[in-house]
């Protein structure tokens, strides 16, 4: 191979090399900007459509009827548009999910962050994150076909379609996310704080509960709030295992359609575009959007706060 001399800078300028490079850089910049802009645009478009179509809906149905009404019968002759049945089912399943996710998630995160040897953590964490790759419809049928019949042996009155089981399954579904994010928050607590705790004679579990959890508190809270927001927005499990029947109940052994399950049902059905029934999709969609947005905003601020601590 002949020796290639290192090019001098004025040669590079004369040969057009520099100009080409500048063009490529500009082109790359523009391309990346377009990609970013596209995702912002898509989000904005979705919000716009949600707002526009639910605007038509709220022109006919007063907001208070929608928010506080207890009957949801858009397809009946006697049309009622009280969203409470859907909302109650959504919040109950999400709440049940938290009942599962908080204690188990916290325990697992503490174990991984404070107890597990590196090798164990390096194995368990990816395995846990792989659970996120399981299609949610699989979880749905698991709830319906395996877990519900199993639990029916122990819980009298548990219907085949119910809120309890999908709630539990939701909790298991968000567990990997919740564990992973709160474990990150715990590991961000500097070792110097742990050493301070040990130096006072704390045992490992005391360091975990008295130093690490308070130190990672906002991060852990953010993990759970974002997990909750996922549970609220989850669809397949609920559509499959919680039923399609808008039913205002506070007994999780019964089935009831959640907001997401309702949206699926309506989107698959053959309601006329532009009809009031059709517009309900957008009204409940907007409500769902507002709820998850709220959770995400709270979670965002908590996460930022915990980043600032160290």
């Amino acid at each position: 191979m002949p020796d290639q001399p290192i090019p001098r800078s004025d040669d590079l300028i004369r040969s057009g090399f520099v100009t080409r490079r500048r063009l490529i850089a500009r082109g790359m910049g523009a391309f990346l900007f377009l990609c970013a802009a596209l995702s912002v645009f898509v989000t904005a478009a979705i919000v716009f459509i949600l707002l526009r179509d639910s605007w038509d809906f709220f022109a006919e149905v007063p907001l208070t009827d929608f928010l506080f009404g207890t009957m949801w019968t858009p397809m009946f002759i006697d049309k009622q548009f009280g969203v409470l049945p859907l909302l109650a089912a959504t919040l109950q399943t999400a709440g049940l999910a938290m009942v599962i996710a908080v204690p188990f998630g916290l325990t697992m995160a503490i174990y991984l962050s404070e107890y597990a040897p590196d090798a164990v953590r390096e194995t368990i964490k990816p395995a846990l994150e792989m659970l996120e790759a399981v299609p949610t419809v699989v979880y749905g049928y698991f709830a319906l076909l395996v877990m519900t019949p199993f639990l029916q042996q122990f819980i009298p009155g548990l219907r085949g379609i119910n809120l309890l089981v999908p709630g539990i399954i939701l909790g298991i579904m968000i567990l990997p996310y919740v564990v992973s994010v709160s474990e990150d928050a715990m590991r961000a607590v500097p070792d110097s704080l742990r050493e301070g705790g040990y130096a006072l004679g704390m045992a490992r579990w005391q360091v975990a509960t008295r130093i690490v959890i308070p130190g990672a508190f906002s991060g852990i809270t953010a993990a759970f709030i974002l997990g909750m927001s996922r549970a609220v927005g989850e669809t397949m499990v609920l559509a499959v295992a919680a039923g399609q029947n808008p039913n205002l109940t506070f007994d999780p052994r019964e089935g009831a359609a959640t907001i997401t399950a309702y949206i699926v049902q309506m989107s698959l059905g053959d309601v006329a575009r532009g009809s009031l029934a059709y517009q309900t999709i957008f009204a409940v969609g907007l409500l769902l959007f507002v709820i998850t947005l709220l959770f995400n905003i709270i979670g965002f601020f908590l996460r930022r706060k915990f980043r600032e601590v160290y």
Partner: protein, 285 residues
């Protein structure tokens, strides 16, 4: 330890001028009791590196023992052995004995529980490390670990500890406030209060003033001198003036070995080993 090495000494080698020397600490052997002693103590990090080599050293009761030496010589490693901090990381290994007197118990012996060792031996770190809690809860932490529940007992102990650490006046109006809002010097005194509150038998300090400004440093030095009436203190410092000012005994270490141990006045005015001498006269460090 090599003590028979004879070195010619001249006055200019003194690092601290005569007039600046602390009031001489009168060695009064009849009042000196042993609190702990290291016997043929060695320490190996998990990578096999021997950071401490066969150290024999006494720790006198209610006296300040300073450990000095160039950076990387093993001062922190030695100090952190005394409360078994190295047990927190797998693979570290102690050898020899660290005997706590008067019981004669070996802190690194087979049966010794590191958690119990740490209940007896408190520690203050180089960088202030207040817990993400209130000032009050920081100082109360050590008491709660020991199962103290009585509000009044804790209130009183918190106040006493903050007073002893000379940080009470600055914190008494904001005990419920976050500890991280204090200045660095205040945080370090808070950490000292936190270590003092449960009345440890020995207090270990690892360069407690290295991150502080001169005023905060002076406060902590005063504090250490006052505390030495009631607590046994072992302090690591790379500030030789500090060692000279506040300690009764000084240990000079070099690459994992204890080169010289003695009365602080003697070490600084009349070092026996040439390495000690060149270190304290500033020829390397």
């Amino acid at each position: 330890m090599d003590t028979d090495m004879k070195v010619e000494r001249t006055a200019h080698r003194r690092i601290v001028p005569e007039s600046d020397m602390p009031p001489p600490i009168k060695p009064s052997p009849e009042h000196e009791t042993l609190r702990a002693r290291l016997e043929d103590f060695s320490f190996y990090y998990s990578n096999g590196f021997q950071a401490i080599k066969h150290v024999d050293m006494p720790i006198l009761d209610r006296k300040v023992t300073a450990i000095i030496g160039p950076s990387g010589c093993g001062k922190s490693t030695l100090l952190r052995s005394i409360n078994r901090m190295h047990d927190l990381y797998p693979g570290n290994r102690y050898e020899g004995r660290i005997i706590l007197e008067p019981e004669g118990e070996n802190l690194i012996g087979k049966g010794a529980d590191p958690v119990i060792v740490r209940l007896r031996v408190g520690m203050v770190f180089q960088k202030p490390n207040p817990f993400p809690k209130s000032i009050y809860e920081n100082v109360a932490a050590g008491l709660r670990v020991r199962g103290v529940k009585d509000r009044h007992v804790i209130d009183e102990a918190v106040e006493t500890a903050l007073r002893r650490a000379a940080v009470w006046d600055e914190t008494k109006d904001k005990l419920k406030g976050s500890a991280s809002d204090l200045s660095g010097g205040q945080q370090q005194r808070l950490c000292i209060a936190r270590a003092l509150a449960p009345n440890p038998e020995i207090l270990l300090l690892d360069e407690p003033t290295s991150a502080l400004d001169p005023i905060a440093t002076a406060k902590i030095e005063d504090l250490i001198q006052e505390l030495s009436d009631s607590v046994t203190i072992v302090i690591v410092t790379h500030n030789m003036q500090q060692a000279a000012r506040i300690s009764h005994r000084t240990a000079f270490m070099y690459i994992g070995e204890l080169i010289e141990f003695g009365d602080t006045n003697q070490i600084f005015t009349n070092p026996r080993h040439p390495r000690t001498e060149s270190y304290i006269t500033g020829r390397y460090g």
